[in-house]
């Protein structure tokens, strides 16, 4: 009896912590089985599915426009880009070209959504690392973006603001002025947050060299979005497979060099500035005209299949649509950015400390709604 007790004591170096699903920094209901030796992480096993709603199955019984509100709820911090991917897939299968005004509207809204999503990321990431104040600054700015969404489409979070063939409504009068006023004051705010964080030595110590993933590994794991670009791969769907009118606007794709948390932070901060740049150009060029192409009342894409992806704030969001010619999709598979980015988490945190785990979860910018769907 005593011997087994002693043995248990000798083996007690390793400890398994169930990290989540009720944990302040798992960004929802992610559960991690963390094997630690003291504070050092030996292994991490993500356990997902707490937010599974069967969205892909639901798509199969919805009309195409009825699918759009369901996509709002996948990555609930970036509903617009979710909508954009779905309608883009259906439009590509049907061969619809949307009017230029609709395309520009989509770009403006998508970039605003990218700002909003990155603001949520910055807020929670900084909070995870212990800087509690940027949270509120970010959410204040995000609220202004959500106000713009509310004015355009009537909802702040679950926007449901696109339809197959274009946009459901035109802008309200004065919307462009308010949008312009917002993006004019926004870069100064980004500078404020950078002054709080970028050079801060505690912030740097917490992020430099944490959660490193090399460019080759990142590609192998299928990472997309800022986690991939932070490793130095210049890959942005907006540049490589331009959709809407992204080939008409000028913007840079920021990349990092070391593939660590700090570089991903810098990449996202720069992406915010680039989004502002895109919105500014779009507002200048926003053409007049209809916002809806001529589409039949009941949308029935021809038999066939299509893969269409957009650069969502979290990475590549792809829709693989198989149509049998009916008014509902035969199969609509979603290639979520977060789900695939999360898979690299064990690789990135192995051998680091518990505090780094939190930083890496934050830097991957996961949303469980999209992971579980």
């Amino acid at each position: 009896m005593e011997r087994t007790h002693l043995k248990a004591f000798a083996d007690a170096e390793e400890m398994e912590i169930s990290f989540g699903p009720q944990h302040p920094s798992t960004h929802g209901v992610l559960r991690l089985m963390v094997k630690v030796d003291g504070e050092r992480i030996l292994d991490v096993k993500p356990i997902i599915g707490y937010l599974h709603r069967g969205t892909e199955k639901l798509f199969e019984r919805e009309t195409y426009n009825g699918c759009i509100p369901h996509t709002d709820r996948m990555d609930y911090t970036a509903a617009v880009t979710n909508n954009q991917g779905l309608v883009g897939a259906v439009e590509r299968l049907m061969g619809i070209t949307i009017p230029p005004r609709a395309a520009y509207l989509r770009m403006i809204l998508a970039e605003l959504q990218r700002l909003a999503s990155h603001l949520v990321w910055l807020a929670t990431h900084a909070l995870d690392i212990g800087a509690q104040t940027p949270y509120f600054y970010c959410f204040e700015e995000r609220d202004k973006i959500l106000d713009l969404f509310e004015e355009y489409c009537g909802a702040r979070l679950t926007t449901n603001c696109m339809r197959v063939g274009g946009m459901p409504f035109d802008l309200t009068p004065g919307w462009t002025d308010r949008c312009r006023a917002f993006i004019e004051q926004f870069p100064a705010k980004v500078s404020d947050w950078e002054r709080l964080l970028t050079k801060n030595r505690i912030w740097r110590e917490r992020t430099v060299g944490v959660g490193v993933i090399s460019a080759a590994d990142a590609i192998e794991w299928g990472l997309t979005g800022p986690p991939l670009r932070g490793s130095g791969v210049r890959w942005d769907i907006r540049k490589v497979f331009p959709y809407d009118r992204y080939d008409e606007v000028e913007f840079d794709v920021p990349i990092g060099t070391n593939g660590d948390t700090y570089d991903r932070y810098l990449v996202r901060m720069e992406e915010m500035r680039q989004s502002v740049r895109i919105i500014r150009q779009c507002l200048e060029r926003l053409p007049d005209g209809p916002v809806m192409a001529k589409v039949p009342k009941i949308i029935k894409p021809p038999k066939g299949e299509v893969y269409f992806s957009v650069e969502a704030p979290k990475g590549e969001l792809g829709y693989y649509l198989v149509s049998e010619g009916g008014d509902t999709p035969y199969r609509l598979h979603v290639r979520p950015a977060c789900f695939i980015n999360l898979q690299a988490l064990p690789e990135m945190v192995r051998g680091q400390l518990v505090a780094d785990l939190v930083a890496v979860i934050g830097t991957l910018d996961i949303v469980l709604g999209e992971i579980d769907r």
Partner: protein, 181 residues
Amino acid sequence: MSWWDKILAFIPLELVQGLGVTGKYLFRKKVTVQYPEQRLEPKDRFRGMFGFSEERCIVCHNCAKACPIDIIHITDHFEESVVDGKKRKKKVLDRYDIDVKRCMFCGLCEEACPTKPVAIWLTTKTYETAAYERNERLYFDKVRLQTWDGVLPFPGVKAPAEGGMPEDPKAEKKAAGGEGA
């Protein structure tokens, strides 16, 4: 990097700078809205609680078909009447129920409504729909849809209980934005 620079780098000036940023925000005007006393007025297109008008409804079931989660239940029957010596069949609404507790406020029903102005609309600028008992309080039949009250309307907004709906924003939109879906 000279040794002097190294010593300078040791002094945490950027931490002081960070304190400066928070110190600056300390004296800014606050953006908090003190909720029960102050209320934010939703924008005109805000999708809130339902409004419904039985007179306008032509019982076409389009809203029920458009609803992605099938929460609109409509039953009807035909009534025959004799007007000017001719027999006329008319659809009459029996039930028009919305299971609001499951609603995700996507607004597709309003878009699908063919009448002008629309018979079902969400632009009532109401968001205080919390209830203690969801099955009773958040299941609206056609009478309650037209007469619900107990939420504070904003100036210029008429609740269905007051017998009106706001200016139809959809009509202008359609005029400005070409043909709709």
